[in-house]
């Protein structure tokens, strides 16, 4: 937790897409091979910053994501460092290109997807990707990230450029609550404890981390000490930390702005099933499509808000006690 800007924590900051776009632009000089690929939504994905600062390395593909995704493989093959940017739903459209021409060929290419989940808001169900984490996680060799706040997004942007291999990273559309201070650090593959507690662990990613922190505060009022883990890397998942949390708190809640199937919840269940099983409650969209509305309204409507997380925590603790 930060000490330099404690006043900002919990306030509404930049959207994750803006934080990503600004970071990418700032990092461009350090990564001379970096090229940014866009399918006519630079204003939506945040890379309008890069377009302005480095127009010669900004590659326009028009509204044609399949060609863009596979072309990234060719750019990587000749030594460029391509970052493909579009909305998460359109990454799903080009997922077979990501599979064959990026992952199968083991290209050092990055896919950065804005507008994931209900956080997409008013655009409605057609635009809200609730399946991307599951789909990209199933591709061999694909690293999957969903950073939590603007501070972490900037750090993760550097991390993916330094990392050698294909990466899928979610940003976000709506203003994101600050979770971390300026002293935050980020490492691919490492989860970290945002708030400690020993009754239950809430494992969250993306915009759900801020809601998990809020849920922990609600639970604290009832005397429940909830631990909150920020699991920004969904693949490879930090199985060691999960095992420790299972051992120390005996109950887990996963929270994600994604279908309850196949995303963070699936990854956590797989890891714990193979190491130290304990009761797990899954907070996410319950195998349905989204709808129009503001993100906070949708979070309540689809049961992924702070209250829903707190309720899941109570259920998990009850199951733990029953099992004991």
């Amino acid at each position: 937790m930060g000490s330099e800007s404690p006043g900002l924590i919990g306030t509404s900051g930049d959207s994750l897409r803006e934080a990503f776009g600004k970071a990418l632009s700032e990092l461009a000089d350090e990564f001379p091979q970096l090229v940014v690929l866009d399918a006519d939504i630079a204003g939506g994905t945040g890379v309008h910053h890069f377009r302005k600062s480095h127009p010669e390395r900004f590659l326009q593909f028009g509204i044609a994501e399949q060609n863009m995704m596979a072309a990234a493989g060719g750019l990587a093959a000749v030594g460029q460092l391509p970052v493909v940017t579009t909305f998460a739903v359109f990454c799903l459209r080009a997922i077979e290109q990501a599979r064959l021409s990026l992952a199968y060929a083991k290209r050092n290419a990055k896919i950065v997807a804005s507008h994931p989940g209900l956080d997409t808001g008013p655009d409605g169900g057609s635009a809200q990707a609730l399946e991307d984490l599951a789909a990209f996680r199933a591709i061999p060799g694909m690293t999957v990230l969903s950073p939590a706040d603007p501070v972490e997004m900037a750090l993760a942007t550097r991390a993916i450029l330094e990392f050698d291999g294909p990466v899928y990273m979610r940003t976000g559309r709506s203003p994101a609550k600050r979770v971390f201070g300026d002293d935050h650090t980020f490492e691919i593959g490492k989860g970290h404890i945002v708030r400690d507690g020993d009754d239950v662990t809430i494992v969250a990613c993306g915009v759900e981390v801020a809601r998990a922190v809020e849920a922990a505060a609600l639970l604290a009022e009832e005397g429940i000490a909830a631990r909150v883990v920020n699991m920004a890397t969904i693949k490879p998942i930090d199985a060691q930390l999960l095992r420790r949390c299972s051992k120390e708190t005996g109950a887990i809640v996963t929270a994600e702005d994604h279908n309850i199937y196949g995303g963070l919840g699936g990854a956590v269940a797989e890891a714990l099933g193979a190491t130290r099983p304990c009761p797990i409650e899954f907070v996410g969209v319950r195998d349905t499509f989204g709808a129009s509305g503001e993100p906070e309204e949708l979070a309540v409507m689809f049961g992924i808000g702070a209250k829903a997380i707190a309720e899941a925590a109570r259920r998990a603790i009850k199951r733990k006690r029953r099992a004991a």
């Binding site: 590659l59 326009q60 399949q66 596979a70 060719g74 000749v78």
Partner: protein, 304 residues
Amino acid sequence: MPFTPKIIPTAGRKDEPVLRHSIETDIALAARFVRQHVVASIYHAGSGHPGGSLSCADILAALFGAELNVWPTAHDDPARDRFVLSKGHAAPALYAIAAHHGFCDKREALRLRKIGSRFQGHPHVLDLPWVETSTGSLGQGFSVALGMAMGLKMQRSSARVYALLGDGELQEGEIWEGAMCAAHHKLDNFCAIIDYNKLQSDARNEQIMRLEPLAAKWRAFDWAVAEIDGHDVAELLKTFRRAGATHERPSVIIAHTVKGKGVPAWENVPQWHGSVKLTREQAEDALSALGAARKDIKDYLDGL
């Protein structure tokens, strides 16, 4: 014993003219080797796509024999030309021409589609670095090649990029996304070659999904278009040279070919497109039609 089947210029079909010794002769001999190797590897594999591998043999032989600046000893030289087999199911032909030019061992390349073999049913760059990229899902190799051309242009490299496409492959929407993109970005270092053999998996293109007017489509996308006989080596070489001289436009060569070319019984018959299992007799007949000597036929088909 090294496996080096003799390719005799006059041992082919009776109606073939005796070839003068020249670069064209070398390429014609390489193409004949490719066809023989394709038949043998598909025979051993028990599956594979002979029709589309035979139709592109002359194109591949011309590219590797005279156009591409690629060498086995420098397959990772950044300045090399790039070739992408977008119609990845013609892998047996790519493996054969690569073996002919020393990128891999001829006998190892007969282990097509076998367990543990680097010569998978579709080319994979992690198994064989000289294939440039993994293909097998139609449309994608074209886009990857386009990305290479884009990157090389940014780097001010003089390397050129070639992609070989199937005709059925042109039904993929991704091709037309890429066609628009390459023209927009003025990728004059990029050349697509269409192996236009008129047949696809189930039937003729025109029955499945009509491609014509094909040259007009590419012209409308602002490509430099050439339409040639894809089995005429001299014409192929001339057209490659012309394509290399285009300015600010990508070029496409529509190469009219015959599916199953070289094996009369298979020519223009759709059933030889798809994955087929060749009997010993079919393989022997085909190799014989392709001018392989009796001893070479035995070498090809025995003792793998």
